[in-house]
Amino acid sequence: MSATPEQNPAEASIERRQFDTLIIGAGGGGLRAALKLAEADLSVAVVSKVFPTRSHTVAAQGGMNAALANVLPDNWHWHMFDTVKGSDYLGDQDAIEYMCRSAPKAVYELEHFGVPFSRLDNGKIYQRAFGGQSQDFGGDQAARTCAAADRTGHAILHSLYQQNIRAKTHFFDEYFAVDLLKGQDGHVLGAVVFDIHDGQIMVIEAKTTLLATGGAGQLFKTTTNALINTGDGMGMAMRAGIPLQDMEFFQFHPTGIAGRGMLITEGVRGEGGYLVNGQGERLMERYAPKAKDLASRDVVSRAIAIEIREGRGCGPNKDHVLLKLDHLGEEVIQKRLPGIRQTCITFLGIDPAEAPIPVFPTAHYTMGGIPTNRFGQVVVPVKDTPEEPVAGLYAAGECACVSVHGGNRLGGNSLLDILVFGRAAANHIIEYLQENKYHRALDEEQMKLVVEKAQQYNNTAGGSSSEKIETVAGLRKELKQVMEEHCGVFRNKEILEQGVVRVEQLVLRMKNVKIDDSSFTFNTAKVEAFELENLMAVAVATIHSAAAREESRGAHSRIDFPDRDDKAWMRHSLYSFDNGLDYKPVRTKPMSVASFPPKPRVY
């Protein structure tokens, strides 16, 4: 191959920029890493498809766990125990130890960046109690979650963005990253991106690249995730030959508004609200006679799915159940649940003080993702080594699988994850760049292919293909429906295997997608087509991993295999386009303390 390839006129106009680090995604994980790197005087480019402060981190209301012991006695080792147990023993204990030990420092750092944490009267940071937290390895309830009122994510995101502006991070706002670039030796060396405003393509060459693109909740019809959560980094990793890890573990919240997705907090049932099926029965009496509507999330989610599947749903399509709270009276509802009331009135035209709320389990959090070690390096199996780093490539946050959440994430651990591992990735990048001072040569052939890919939807209107033309909106709708029906909270062999076939069929139909907007100005149809490609890749990995895992662990719950099977399945799933399914062991050895051996997960 020629060292100086000829450029065609289209490529001649393509701008090339060079940076030490390219970060794709500007949520909490990406911005935390960017800040650390910019402060180390490295040149950092952050590419974000939306304006950075419109990243999904803004929606994280709950808070961030750290064993500060400001309210009740606490220490990081108890936090570690809770996280390992919460993960249903699928979490990697070295990464969990690292995260829990780093948590207090991560909170203090945020405080110095300007995050206004809520305070106790004595001036210390206030900490609230959250589910799954204990003192003394499973004892009394702990108080571990630090919060900035009910807008913690918003406060963190805005503070980090301001700090990055101060540190002179270079932002490419409203740019879309298409695919990763590589060198001949397999190093990852940046990405091809385009400006959503005018379609202009740009090659960003970088010595190191960090994927921080968030989760993939848009896989499912009913989700709490914003429209931007299309698993872009996961799709890019898959196309670069990297497997996705533990994708069968997707956290669902039992009560989302049916057909819309937004969350109705557990607090509603805590106040005395209860679920009713199409026959007017209190359905939870059948599934959890004691705890009833306060049973754990997965039990309630599965109960709702079973009722609907067995024809006891509500509404003309019998596709939801009802959450009844009108018996609490208008005064109580207005006083204790004003936000919920407002949400229902705005999105459903229903006042829960007068009528019940239609609900359905809603997809909330992607536990799986791009496999990394605790330094944020993306790791893949090579021959007998299960975790060989991919040179130059890092991932952090919800798109990554470190794995600290394992089979199920604890409330308050997701903000902690993005901040701790965003920072850890930056630390490793700084070290790596001391050894790797110069830009490596791109594989120009591979770059050409990616540039072509970036142009692929430019001219598809009115094609003359004899095959059926598919629309992005149509295929996306089908994909979300298939994933909800076949890979939601109700899983068994038959349903999952049908799902595998249906997802594979949708992937084949993707090649017939045509978009009817060939303009270069704000061509959002083109962006949506690329997003759908990413969702398709994530869907393939998710459904295959779920169909293969014959046990129930954490959020992956099989009707036909109701028990956890540590002997056969205490291992991570890996799914790649090239090799299909593969597995690797869980890292059960922590950094400095004794392992927590698997025990039944009882709360």
Binding site: K49, V50, T53, R54, S55, H56, T57, V58, A59, R151, H154, L157, H158, E174, I196, T223, T224, N225, A226, L227, I228, R260, G261, M262, G339, Q342, T343, I345, T346, F347, G349, D517, S519, T521, F522, N523, T524, V527
Partner: protein, 81 residues
Amino acid sequence: MTAEQTNYRWQCRRGMLELDLLLNNFVDKKASALSMEQAAVFEMLLSYPDQTLFDLLLGNSVSSDRRASALIEQIRSTPFD
């Protein structure tokens, strides 16, 4: 889709699902009929931080700008399919 709608479309991609749904529904159904003045107010609203917009659109807070509060009411009351 009109030029205004495509321009708005990406600004309606937000960090919160609630905002995505309310803003996109409004753009789908009402944006092409906005007056020049209303369009300017809509653009101003889109420039607000997500949390501020969330509080305004979900009725947790009220804008002191009468033109803004009128448009917010219009967004809130645009029916979903």
